[in-house]
C-alpha cells in the first residue's frame, strides 16, 4: 500500500468515526437531556443558596424553588415514556425536600461548606441512580 492509499484509508476511517460519534449524540434520548438539565439546575440551586455567610433573600429563594418545581412539572408532562414519569416524580419530590432543608438552614444562618459539598454529592448520586433506573 503506498502513502496515498494510507492517507485515503485514514481519512475514510476518520470520517466514519466522526459520523458514528455524531449519530450517538443526535440519537441521545431526549429524556437523558431532560435529566441532565434538571441535575444542572439543582446543582446550581445549591451553589446559589448553600453559601456560607450569604444573606438569605426569601423572595428570591422562593422564586427559584417555584422555577425548579415548574421545570420538574414540565419534564414530567413532556416525558413520552410513561414508565419514566415515576422516576421524575421521585426527583421532583427530592428537589422539594432539598429546597425545604436548604431554606431552613439558609434562613437561620446554619450553612456550612460541608453541607453544600455533601448536598451536591447526594444530588449527583440521586441522578445517577435515577438515570440507571429509567434505562433498566
Amino acid at each position: 500500500m503506498n502513502s496515498k492509499d494510507t492517507i485515503v484509508r485514514n481519512t475514510f476511517l476518520c470520517a466514519v468515526a466522526f459520523a458514528l460519534a455524531s449519530c450517538a449524540t443526535l440519537t441521545k434520548p431526549e429524556s437523558d437531556v431532560s435529566f441532565e438539565n434538571l441535575r444542572a439546575f439543582e446543582i446550581s440551586f445549591v451553589d446559589q443558596y448553600a453559601v456560607l455567610g450569604k444573606r438569605f433573600d426569601a423572595a428570591a429563594f422562593d422564586a427559584k424553588v417555584a422555577e425548579g418545581n415548574a421545570k420538574f412539572q414540565d419534564a414530567m408532562t413532556n416525558e413520552k415514556f410513561k414508565a419514566r414519569r415515576p422516576v421524575l416524580k421521585d426527583l421532583a419530590d427530592q428537589f422539594k425536600a432539598e429546597a425545604a432543608h436548604l431554606r431552613k438552614k439558609a434562613s437561620t444562618g446554619k450553612i456550612t461548606k460541608a453541607l453544600a459539598a455533601e448536598r451536591k454529592r447526594d444530588i449527583n448520586d440521586n441522578y445517577e441512580h435515577a438515570i440507571a433506573k429509567k434505562t433498566e
Binding site: 421521585d90 427530592q94 425536600a97 432543608h101 431552613k104 438552614k105 446554619k110 456550612t112 461548606k113 460541608a114 453541607l115 455533601e118 447526594d122 448520586d125 440521586n126 441512580h129 433506573k133
Partner: protein, 106 residues
C-alpha cells in the same frame, strides 16, 4: 471518630454500629459498601461540628429512600439482611450515635 463515643449508655449501640459497618463494607454488594462509606464520612463531619443533627437526618432520609429501592430489588430471602445493613444501620447511627457525637463536639 467512634473513639469519641465513650458514653457507657451507648456502648451497645457503638458496638452494633461497628459490627454493621464492618459487615456492610465486607459484603460484595456495592450498595452496602457505598452506603457504609457515605455514612462513615458523614459521621466524621458530624464529629467535627461541620454537620448538625438536621443535616444528618436529611442525609439518612435520602439514603433510606435509595436503600428501600435497593431492598425491593433483592430476592425475598436477602431482604432482611439488606434492610439490616442499610436502613437499620442508618437508624442506629442517627438515633443513638449522632446525638453523642454532637454533644462531644460542643
Amino acid at each position: 471518630m467512634l473513639d469519641q463515643v465513650n458514653d457507657s449508655t451507648v456502648a451497645d449501640a457503638k458496638k452494633e454500629l461497628q459490627n454493621l459497618l464492618a459487615d456492610a463494607k465486607g459484603d460484595s454488594a456495592t450498595f452496602f459498601q457505598q452506603n457504609a462509606q457515605k455514612l462513615e464520612e458523614r459521621l466524621v463531619l458530624v464529629s467535627k461540628g461541620e454537620l448538625d443533627q438536621d443535616d444528618f437526618n436529611f442525609f439518612v432520609e435520602n439514603q433510606k429512600r435509595a436503600a428501600q429501592i435497593f431492598i425491593d430489588s433483592q430476592p425475598p430471602q436477602a431482604q432482611e439482611r439488606a434492610e439490616k445493613l442499610t436502613i437499620h444501620l442508618l437508624e442506629v447511627a442517627a438515633t443513638k450515635i449522632v446525638p453523642v457525637l454532637i454533644a462531644a463536639a460542643l
